[in-house]
């Protein structure tokens, strides 16, 4: 009954953490190297775009639509309590959507769907030793598996963010018109959005789209054991990519406020 086991466990965890960090860095660098190096199977990016992008369209549209309705409803409710002037709600809502909520919430949704999918796929290839087989035949697993998913997720996240923002804005306008009698002409006012907002939103979407496949692929490649290991890899991928989304959002938003603050 000494403190020794605790210190040992702490040390083991630290070593594990350092090891995982290095491996994640390896996947990150390898992915970017793989993009330049080429060598991915032909047509794989398009196929992944279909699996990652097209198949998420309904999911993203439904969730972002409801989020848009709820957010407009809540802010109208609160504004009614304070000022009663609802004319600003549409333009401000669009601004918030473009530079923050649309990319972040779309990416949170994709982190669950796409992240889990990538980790499960790569993880089950790992535990059935197909990754080792790839290596044996002289194919780099990162080039072959992660790079196409990476490219597809970056493109899909940007496209789905645009879709999500549109759906959320339209549904928000509908809510405002139906529940609070806000004139649609006043609500759908696009003049507040500046290039700075578009730049912030776009860079967020690209960063999220890059983070999700790298973290999920990393979790998949580290899967051990049998199907249980794949389950753990999937969970870790969803948690890791969701948290990465929140962290990136925080960093880019803080950057936007402190450095580009004048544009907002």
């Amino acid at each position: 009954m000494t403190v020794r086991p605790y210190i040992e466990r702490l040390g083991a965890r630290t070593l594990d953490g350092v090891d995982a960090g290095l491996a994640l860095w390896g996947v990150f660098v390898g992915t970017f190297a793989g993009i330049i190096r080429g060598g991915r199977p032909k047509g794989e990016v398009v196929r992944q775009l279909y699996v990652i992008g097209n198949k998420s369209v309904v999911f993203v549209a439904v969730t972002l639509g409801f989020i848009g309705m709820v957010m407009v409803y809540q802010s109208c409710l609160q504004l009614n309590r304070v000022t009663g002037d609802l004319s600003q709600i549409g333009p401000e809502f669009l601004k918030l959507l473009v530079h923050d909520f649309a990319p972040t919430l779309t990416a949170m949704m994709l982190a669950t769907r796409v992240g889990a999918g990538i980790a499960a796929e790569v993880g089950s290839m790992k535990v059935t030793e197909q990754i080792d087989a790839l290596r044996m035949s002289g194919v780099r697993p990162i080039d072959y598996l992660i790079v196409p998913r990476f490219l597809a997720t970056v493109i899909a996240t940007v496209c789905l963010t645009v879709l999500g923002a549109t759906v959320a804005y339209l549904m928000g306008g509908l809510t405002a018109a139906m529940s609070f009698h806000v004139n649609p002409d006043i609500f759908f006012d696009l003049s507040r959005v500046t290039p700075t907002h578009l730049f912030l939103g776009l860079s967020k979407a690209i960063c999220y789209g890059a983070a999700i496949p790298i973290i999920s692929g990393f979790c998949g490649l580290r899967a051990r054991g049998s199907s249980e290991g794949v389950g753990w890899a999937t969970t870790a991928a969803v948690i890791g990519s969701s948290f990465a989304v929140i962290l990136i959002d925080f960093i880019i938003s803080a950057f936007g406020l402190t450095v580009l603050g004048g544009g907002l």
Binding site: I67, L77, S226, V230, G231, A254
Partner: protein, 307 residues
């Protein structure tokens, strides 16, 4: 304690194909053109297909699948509700699940909430800079965190960590026929496995949102000082003067409902797994997606109901 199968078989063919109703029966004879999920069509398949019969039939098939899943989840909810009155479940399993689901999730919830609070402060910081209205920060970020962002983000994290894990666990038990084993020992899988999990997830998410809300406010307090230069007391009074306990309660009710819905979807997809280990992976994915959609839908209805 009768086996679960007995209750729903009598209702007829449709119900007997639902999970839990009679897993053994379903596994024996997958209905004509029914339960075996088709493999994912390739890209070429869709490129070849004309908009027409194939498209329409896929719309119909997904509508039927959604209806089947919604019905299955409803029936599962009914069974869980029935075993709660009077409460009869495996209490030790409940405590074990509470530890596994709540205590182990605290670190990730704390991290998420901390940065969420920071993000909310940054978003409202735009107004502070433009109108020089430091008195708004606490109110705006507190309102958003309590009512929407706190419960939703923590529920999404919870669904990714606990819900997915739960589906994988139950799914593995299902494909290795451990549920049938329990039934053979005259142990009701609903009371032994499902009910403790549903209760544990509801309680866990409720508690985690309480913790998360407080941490998010702490993060907001810290970052509003660091990034915007708003004094702690300004933040505090802005929060206390403008928000009521009702706002806090609003989020907590949502958290409890989200917890139940995550539990029901993850348990449903877990016990209705088919097709071995690959099926478990597919079920985990489906469960996480269904939980996310149900969180958003319920959030919408609850917002209207609670006002």
């Amino acid at each position: 304690m009768a086996p679960v199968g007995d209750t729903s078989v009598a209702v007829g063919g449709v119900l007997s194909r639902l999970p839990l109703g009679s897993l053994a029966m379903v596994e024996k004879k997958a209905g004509p053109g029914g339960d075996e999920r088709r493999p994912t069509p390739t890209f070429a398949y869709y490129r070849r297909g004309v908009l027409g019969e194939r498209y329409l039939s896929s719309v119909g098939a997904s509508a039927v699948a959604i209806a089947r899943e919604a019905g299955g989840i409803t029936i599962l909810a009914g069974k869980v509700l029935r075993s709660l009155f009077p409460p009869s479940m495996d209490w030790r399993e409940l405590v074990r699940n509470l530890h596994k689901m709540a205590n182990r999730s605290v670190p990730i919830v704390v991290l998420t909430a901390f940065f969420t609070g920071g993000i909310m402060v940054i978003q409202s910081g735009i107004f502070v800079k433009r109108f020089n209205a430091a008195g708004l920060v606490g109110w705006a970020s507190g309102y958003a965190v309590f009512r929407e962002i706190g419960p939703i983000l923590i529920a999404l994290m919870f669904s990714g960590r606990v819900g997915a894990n739960n589906t994988a666990e139950l799914g593995t038990m299902t494909v290795t026929e451990q549920l049938d084993g329990l039934r053979a020992l005259a142990i009701d899988p609903i009371r032994y496995l499902i009910v403790p999990r549903v209760v544990a997830m509801m309680v866990s998410l409720f508690a985690l949102v309480v913790i998360g809300d407080l941490i998010a406010l702490g993060g907001g307090l810290l970052f509003s000082k660091l990034i915007l230069g708003v004094e702690y007391s300004t933040f505090y009074y802005s929060l206390v003067d403008n928000l009521t306990p009702g706002d806090f309660l609003h989020g907590l009710i949502k958290a409890a409902v989200f917890g139940i819905s995550i539990a029901l979807t993850s348990c449903y997809f877990g016990v209705s797994v088919r097709g071995g280990a690959v099926g478990v992976g597919r079920a985990v994915n489906a469960a996480v997606v269904a939980a996310a959609v149900s969180i958003m839908l319920l959030d919408f209805f609850l917002t209207y109901l609670l006002g």
